[in-house]
């Protein structure tokens, strides 16, 4: 008999060492998330995967599963908190979905729809950020970076390059590139790197391309992210 906990009343089996997120995804369930990617160590930074256990909110991607837990995820209260977190992410950067190459296949947009977020609500920061198109194969649009550190982790843990890091603190936090000029084209970043293919938003994108999948056939055009799954699981389809 495997051990179980309950997610919104549903029995979820788990094995020793699994987090709540691991167990729920393995059982075919869904808890929205942005910085989580099962290929990397849990990070717990985006806070979108908040769930409540006994009235206490924890991030599902870092909380260990344990026998008999009663986990609340789909309640309106939890979804409202997630929406507020997402709304802050949207106004902190410049996320212009209508014109973005990633629209329709963007995890940030899909998670926002999943939580019922239809407007940014908060006052936009409209930060001045640039586009780094110095690399021959990829661009970085800093306007769309949500500081999830997936590229940081991928470059460090899988590519062995440490091309990316988060620099600054608080509101000044930003993605920094390890090269003499600070530009991607002068770094060791390559199109085949894992870091090129883990961004959950449109911040790291292949160059000279975009909008190649017709509207209606994009990843999240037909079904929500809770059914389709993460962008990373479809990377080859959408690349």
């Amino acid at each position: 008999m495997s051990k179980t906990f309950r997610l919104d009343g549903r029995e979820i089996p788990f094995e020793a060492g699994q987090t709540i997120m691991d167990a729920v995804l393995a059982a075919g369930g869904y808890i929205p998330h942005l910085c989580h990617n099962p290929e990397f160590a849990p990070h717990g930074s985006c806070r979108v995967c908040l769930v409540a256990i006994g009235g206490r909110q924890v991030s599902a991607c870092t909380a260990p599963a344990s026998e008999g837990l009663e986990v609340e995820s789909d309640s309106e209260a939890i979804q409202a908190t997630r929406r507020a977190i997402l709304q802050m992410l949207f106004v902190e950067g410049n996320h212009v979905c209508p014109a973005c190459e990633k629209s329709g296949a963007c995890q940030l947009q899909a998670v926002a729809y999943y939580t019922g977020m239809l407007a940014p609500h908060f006052t936009h920061f409209f930060p001045h950020r640039s586009v780094d198109a110095s690399h021959p194969d990829f661009i970085i649009d800093f306007n769309r970076c949500i500081l999830c550190e997936l590229c940081v982790r991928a470059s460090r843990d899988q590519d062995g390059k440490r091309v990316f890091a988060i620099s600054g603190r608080g509101l000044d936090s930003h993605l920094a590139i390890d090269s003499p000029s600070g530009r991607l084209g002068d770094s060791s970043f390559a199109a085949g790197d894992k870091a090129a293919h883990v961004c959950p938003t449109g911040a790291i994108l292949p160059k000279h391309r975009g909008y190649e999948t017709p509207i209606g056939a994009r990843l999240y055009d037909r079904e929500p992210i809770s059914v389709v799954g993460d962008v990373r699981a479809h990377e080859e389809e959408v690349a």
């Binding site: 640039s130 661009i139 000279h208 017709p214």
Partner: protein, 494 residues
Amino acid sequence: MTTQLETARHPETLRRVCIEPLTRVEGHGKVTLLLDEDNHVKQARLHIVEFRGFEKFIQGRPYWELPVVVQRLCGICPVSHHLAAAKACDRLIGVARLTPTAEKVRRLMHLGQTLQSHALHFFHLSSPDLLFGVDDAVAHRNIVGVIQDHPEIARQGILLRKYGQEVIRITSGKRVHGTGALPGGVNKNVSTEERDLLLADIDRIVAWAEQAVQLIKRMILTSPESHYRFASVDANTLSLVAADGAFEIYDGGLRARDPQGGAIFDHADAQGYAELLREEIKPWSYMKFPFIAALGPEHGWYRVGPLARVNNCDRFTTPLAEQERQDFAAAGEGRPLQAALTTHWARLIELLHCTEAIRELLADPDLQGTDLRLEGDLGSLGIGVVEAPRGTLFHHYEVDPDGLVTRANLIVSTTNNNQAMNEAIRRVAADDLDGHELSEPLLNRIEVAIRAYDPCLSCATHALGKMPLELELLDAEGRRVAAIRRHADGLIDR
């Protein structure tokens, strides 16, 4: 000539009448009239009071975003901007000719766009003036009045527009702001199911378009003198034409003619537009004033759009529209028609052509082809020109070696018509308003003249940093306390 009405000699002594906002046009604008004590009009201006600034804020963006980003400057004719930007991007990557499938899918999209925009303009915005008269009660002079009094005309108008929107949806993914055109091609073809969906209704759509032309023709020809006189201004004309001189809205050479129909230039390469046209800035509008360089700003202003295109082309390639064009040309008795209201006639002939051309194109198996896109090497300059519903549309982009936009210049259809619209309202002011006690119906005549040009004011205001601006601080009694002025050259004085 009414040009002297642009600026009154002693505006401080005159009474100001303002039509704000202009109604039944796209975007925000106003007209100001300055009158003396006896109601003589001394100054008449069309001002564009909104500001969009796309030329500035796309700087630093990747070129491949342009067709999708820039179309957002309009919700009525986004396809025109989508295609002009895509054509500019084709040039940027060195693709001068698309695959047959890509070109035909784009052409179909553009025909659908012109059809829906023309239907919207005529039936929703202008038909109330024409069906009920410019003096009709305001509460009745609108699309709801048309639905009540002429339900079949309203229904056909609405369904004509819907059909055009369906063509756009099928070719670009959405009815408004789709993503069909890419640099070097398109992202989808037209499947046989999609083609059959459009074919199911096309005969009825062509028939309705034909009836629409007969409707406007009857309206104009029942009292030709008043229709030919109203807001008539002799203008140079500019449009694209096909290599054989036929009507063309997607790709062709530039043809400019003088008010008598004589050639100014013909089959000029649109890539060289900057040598042919210049733009002037005036301190009282956010919209620039383009002119034909060889003629100078005073005499070089021109008209674009349906009236210019139908006057300019030698023929239509589709039979019903060509037959109507011949009637239209005959009405001019050897001279281009210049009256504002004949624009509606020309617009509906174009609408008829679009329906016929869509029917022809749907029979072409190239629409189902799978060779969608060509690739090339990135250059630094791309210029794309199409005939938008409202007239010739220029997109000009320059990019750095990384592919980021460094400079953009958009000359939008409505901008091309800026001076022509101003001349038209001055003609109305001089002919119909001068010396009369102003009333709503009289002021509506000004709007009727502007409406004939179907201006899209939101499309038309993008230059940033060049516009002379004056800021005044007034006290509670309206007395000027302080003022600061920025000149076109950037200098600021107080």
